[in-house]
Symmetry: C2
């Protein structure tokens, strides 16, 4: 068996943030598999077949990729950001776990990428410069009660909090509910960063205090970062610097 | 003023994980500043001065970099991993905040890199595939009580937990204390990943159940990831796959 499966992170959008090892994998691939806008980031070339599929079909996509690699293809499953953060790597391994004997000898590797919260953090300054957590706000695959519990404990722990998938058409109020919950524990001084489409031409950064944060400030291309009690802003040319110092008194 | 300051992440070690935008910044730099082993990763070339300094002098290093950029130099401050995760970006901004007027117009940018926990996660599978947190175990700059509080709340929230700076000569028992604390809340089935020097020739991965995890399994080049209650292993050729599924029942 000479086929392989690589789950690769394309970073937040700019080609300048795609790691060389991911570029090499894409150059060697016979097949690229993924969500439509991510596959569109891989240019067409002779010898490469691009398999773009809609969101919410991760299970089918994962099996398709595994089966092509089993048959000898060199398959790259692409994710935006990092494939190990709320993305395709776990979806692939869920499929592998369903039939571990079948896939036992298949060459499967994960190549990391620049995940959205770290790209956003870098653009804004360093809001994740101290202890932080990442929470997926989607309730597709976990109970809403668990999301609320994690948000409350994260606020109590005084983590900076990155929220992935903060908003979708199916859950228009989820982010407002999260802000309301965080306001119960956090003081009014926490800054909230809405970072949309970082590193693309559509990039927009917006920082507001937690009491003024609204769900409508995010869309599906936004990552939201709520500062810890220590996160602050420094006036600076162009845009303020948002950062969390290393020191806690 | 034509100088600039870029805080850049070199990733965990392999050149194949350095983003193109970081490589461009290094090629344009007149000065590279950082901790000795990180500066050593930037090859010498005519026109480039390398300023390597010891650990624990981040404040001096930050001011030095700012002053060179102010004087017109093109300065890259290098961090391992991502500069915004327990690294030099926050140290630079702490200095900026001390005298924001002086540095108001200086061109300062942060370029993200592949941070240690995400490189480790990719190598092992996808243990950070669901909600997770990152905690710096060093008590240099924060009270030990806050570290313990965050560990306890993170365990209660059932996050996967990445521990940075898990061990140093000054704190030989800190990691054992963290494991003892986590064992109070977490069940015995949590896997613990010790990922040392990922992507370098010295890379070593080791996975043990939480009851068998010992501080001596980590050193200064190790990142430690404690799984959530959902993290599990799949038998696989070469090494088992460690991952956290997306679904929580």
């Amino acid at each position: 068996m000479s086929g392989w499966l690589i789950v690769a992170g394309l970073g937040p959008g700019a080609d300048a943030m795609v790691t060389p090892e991911v570029s090499v994998a894409l150059a060697e691939a016979t097949d690229v598999v993924g969500y439509i806008p991510y596959v569109a980031r891989v240019p067409e070339r002779p010898g490469l077949t691009r398999h773009a599929s809609d969101n919410r079909v991760e299970r089918d996509r994962a099996l398709h990729a595994l089966e092509m690699a089993e048959a000898g293809a060199r398959v790259v499953v692409v994710s935006s950001g990092d494939p190990g953060v709320f993305a395709m790597a776990a979806a692939i391994f869920e499929r592998v776990e369903e039939d571990p004997t079948r896939w036992h000898d298949l060459d499967i590797r994960v190549l990391p990428g620049i995940t959205a919260m770290l790209a956003a953090s870098a653009r804004a300054g360093a809001p994740l410069g101290h202890d932080f957590c990442a929470i997926n706000l989607s309730d597709n695959l976990k109970p809403q009660a668990l999301i609320e519990r994690r948000l409350a404990l994260a606020a109590e722990a005084d983590f900076a909090i990155a929220l992935y998938n903060p908003r979708s058409k199916a859950r228009p109020d989820a982010l407002d509910a999260a802000f309301a919950l965080l306001r119960e524990t956090c003081g009014d001084n926490r800054p909230v960063l809405f970072a949309r489409a970082v590193s693309t031409p559509e990039e927009v950064l917006r920082i507001v205090p937690l009491p003024e944060a609204k769900g409508e400030m995010a869309d599906m291309r936004t990552v939201v970062i709520i500062g810890s009690s220590r996160t602050r802003m420094i006036p600076h040319a162009g845009q303020p610097i948002l950062y969390t110092p290393r020191t806690t008194p």
